[in-house]
């Protein structure tokens, strides 16, 4: 009897399944008839494959690309940069200084947060103090370290001594002053980082809820966050900045793989893709025609020697220069990297102010000279180097090629040293356990050559994981920091770059490029210096 009962069950399940399949078939047909109509997208909106942000949407707690896309849509800080890296004032009317130490910010009047409350000097001061406070554990707190009183709210150990940085003072509703610890001629550029965005009062009532549904002052108003699926924002009709949205809104969609996103782009279910995967790179220009984005942005990949390692301790820079000349950048970028990189010609990428042509052949492939230089410098211990990289980031192929190139041209044995993933790779760098070199990558925070010098090669710079330390270089950086004006500071850093070339704290390899594209239904797609799409400019056909 029991047997008979279970048989009935099976039959029941079968009917349900058949019914479900029948419905399914119908759905499929519908969508193929209107292939360009994207499911669930309101008219006038554009969509882009920006996946799930790592952290809650708080400006100072996001430092990765996915989250920053949304932050930049919802929030507007004092200023922005245009395609050439020039300053464009957004929320600020002016930012002025006499001595590079005290800066006066005037806000444009009449700005409002999306909840209707006004954007005042206090909105900035209170937010910055909150961001910098160590108790709030914001990822980008260190961005405020130039401001006087930072050490009080963010001590190296223990609880903060104060809730406020003494350097921030409101003059009136739309004016405030920023006093720095010491003069920083390029401080204004730093203000262009989205971390300096203001916060409305509602934030302090429930920071956790705010992180899930932010209220900003930017060109877009937050609509919804369907976790791991999509984030939706709509254009802010009352926005007064120069970067007012030219579309009605954005869908930031999450995809499992770049290949999946590409397929949706091709079939009209996605408007923009940020990066075409290796599988589709060989044919994406054919598929997309003139809707291809193939442009360099301000980011450099380099090999960083670790100066504590047996290999590079007390090394003659000539050896590193020799190794640099032993790398056939042109061939590797063209073949192994499919043309997705541009060979580096200096330590800074084009697109940042102060990028210069270094009069040198250190970045040119010359096997004979490379070999001679390595020999002249005394070679490396055991005639052997390792390049550490993370195996989860698609670096294996080019690291192998670079090693091959070095081995063939200089005779130095080169071994790729794979770490399973980025976390393990970072851990080895932090703990000074890199065998001899690691793969470094740096994207500009602000479009200035300074960002590619002092943040990476200064003795006390925290991103200096090669532990490079040189008094002359430090002095040259200091000269740039103490320069009376921005132009002179840039020039001083250009001089410093020449010194860096003699000391070789790293071997720049190539500049990154964006290899993306967009669909037939959108237009005016361009990227900024960080390699991000300028979402506000995209128009719907």
């Amino acid at each position: 009897m029991r047997g008979a009962k279970s048989a009935k069950w099976v039959a029941g399940a079968a009917i349900i399944a058949l019914a479900a399949t029948a419905c399914g078939g119908g759905d499929g047909d519908d969508s193929s008839n209107s292939a360009s109509k994207e499911k669930g997208k309101p008219a006038g909106y554009v969509s882009v494959d920006v996946g799930e942000p790592q952290k809650p949407l708080i400006p100072a707690d996001t430092n990765e690309q996915l989250g920053s896309y949304v932050i930049q849509a919802v929030f507007t800080q004092l200023l922005e940069f245009d395609g050439e890296g020039n300053i464009v004032y957004t929320n600020a009317e002016s930012v002025t200084t006499e001595d590079s130490k005290t800066w006066t910010v005037k806000l444009k009047p009449g700005w409002k947060f999306h909840d209707g409350t006004p954007v005042t000097a206090e909105s900035y001061i209170k937010a910055w103090n909150w961001y910098a406070n160590i108790k709030n554990n914001q990822q980008n707190a260190f961005w405020f370290e130039d401001i006087k009183g930072y050490a009080d709210v963010h001590p190296e150990k223990g609880d903060p001594k104060s809730e406020e940085m003494s350097g921030l003072k409101a003059v009136d509703d739309t004016t405030f002053t920023i006093e720095l610890d010491k003069p920083v001629p390029y401080f204004e550029y730093k203000l262009g980082y989205y971390t300096f965005a203001p916060l409305p009062e509602v934030f302090y009532k429930d920071t956790k809820a705010f992180g899930q549904a932010p209220v900003g002052n930017g060109p877009y108003i937050f609509e919804k966050w369907d976790h791991k699926k999509l984030i939706q924002v709509k254009a802010n009709p009352d926005y007064q900045g120069p970067n007012k949205a030219k579309n009605k809104g954005i869908l930031f969609k999450n995809y499992a793989t770049v290949e999946a996103a590409y397929q949706d782009l091709i079939s009209g279910n996605l408007d923009m893709i940020r990066q075409v995967g290796p599988k589709d790179l060989p044919k994406y220009k054919q598929d997309l025609g003139d809707r291809v984005i193939d442009e360099p942005y301000a980011a450099v990949q380099s090999l960083v020697p670790t100066f504590y390692s047996k290999t590079f301790k007390d090394i003659d820079p000539k050896v590193i220069q020799g190794l640099s000349m032993g790398i056939d950048r042109d061939t590797i970028t063209k073949t192994v990297l499919n043309g997705t990189r541009e060979p580096a010609k200096s330590f800074t990428p084009p697109g940042v102010a102060g990028n210069q042509q270094l009069d040198t052949d250190v970045f040119t492939f010359d096997p004979a000279k490379a070999k001679a230089l390595v020999k002249e410098g005394g070679g490396v211990p055991d005639n052997k180097i390792w390049i550490q990289y993370n195996a989860d980031g698609g670096h294996k192929e080019w690291v192998t090629a670079v090693c091959e190139s070095i081995r063939n041209s200089t005779g130095v044995d080169c071994i790729p040293d794979a770490k399973p993933d980025f976390q393990t790779d970072l851990e080895a760098r932090d703990n000074d356990q890199v065998k001899s070199m690691y793969r470094g990558g740096w994207v500009a925070d602000y479009p200035l050559n300074v960002n590619f010098m002092r943040e990476l090669y200064g003795t006390t710079a925290e991103a200096n994981n090669g532990r490079f330390s040189d008094k002359e270089v430090d002095a040259a950086f200091k000269k740039g920091d103490n320069a009376p004006s921005l132009d002179e500071s840039i020039k001083a850093y250009q001089e410093a770059e020449k010194l860096v070339l003699d000391k070789m704290p790293a071997i720049p390899l190539w500049e990154y490029k964006i290899n993306g594209g967009y669909g037939k239904s959108v237009d005016n797609v361009a990227i900024d210096f960080r390699g991000d799409y300028v979402m506000t400019d995209v128009t719907v056909k």
Partner: protein, 309 residues
Amino acid sequence: MGRYVARRLLQMIPVFLGSTMLVFAMMYVLPGDPVRALAGEQTVDPAQIAAMKKDLGLDLPFWHQYWNYLVGLFQGDFGTEIASGRPVSETIADAFPITIRLALFAFVFTVLVGISIGVFAGLKADTLRDRGLLVLTLLLISVPSFVLGFLAQYFFAHQLGWVDPNVSAEANWGELLLPAVVLGSLSLAYVARLTRTSIAENLRADYMRTAVAKGLPRRRVIGVHLMRNSMIPVVTFLGTDLGALLGGAVVTEGIFNVQGVGRAVFGALQHREGATVVGIVTLIVIVYLVTSLLVDLLYAVLDPRIRYA
């Protein structure tokens, strides 16, 4: 029977504890610090990292962390994700329904088509149609699922345009059809082969001859007498298979952009979100335990000679 079930349920407790501890320990010994990794190649502030770890309880020794986790679990708290600060239960609630739908879909497909093919082939063993079906299942077994997935996507989505290549965020039934078929096709081949062999063997059994001799209609001979006895090995396989399907086929979910469990586990592993990995694996362990219990109970239904005290 009741005592048997109770005993089996009690046995689940040590299995559950052991497996969660194993996974927890594995996540613990993995190199790479998830809190540190949040900063990437940017500047890191050691004081801040230490503070965040303290907040999350990640600075405690292993046993203490595991204890905290267990205590939380029994209060229905799966823990909190490090980066997003969201409860792990939300991630699970996002991913599981989609995978359950996909798995059930694939399962029904496997059962219906697989058993039909098996019976069809087994009734006329060693004929041309039997051989033909054997070749077909051999093909399905030997082709890796990602090849099958890409092929299906290419033909049905890009060439014929019957379906969309990707499953959208809503993941409705129609969209899940193709991935479910791809996901189910491997088990389908096994089910077909198991059924076929079992049917072919039992066809020669004494009770079959008796049933035929009694003059029962053919439908009843095959449908009840033959099928019921032939299903035992198939049910065993299906039981473990349902667990595997629910565990999420990472590859298939990846190809069709299904936002399910496979992807959630993979992402969590990449970001060293220990609590998420342990939470999802725990649920999968429970699914395995329950399905294997159901399979054992089904034996008694299918073959009355098998009885549990």
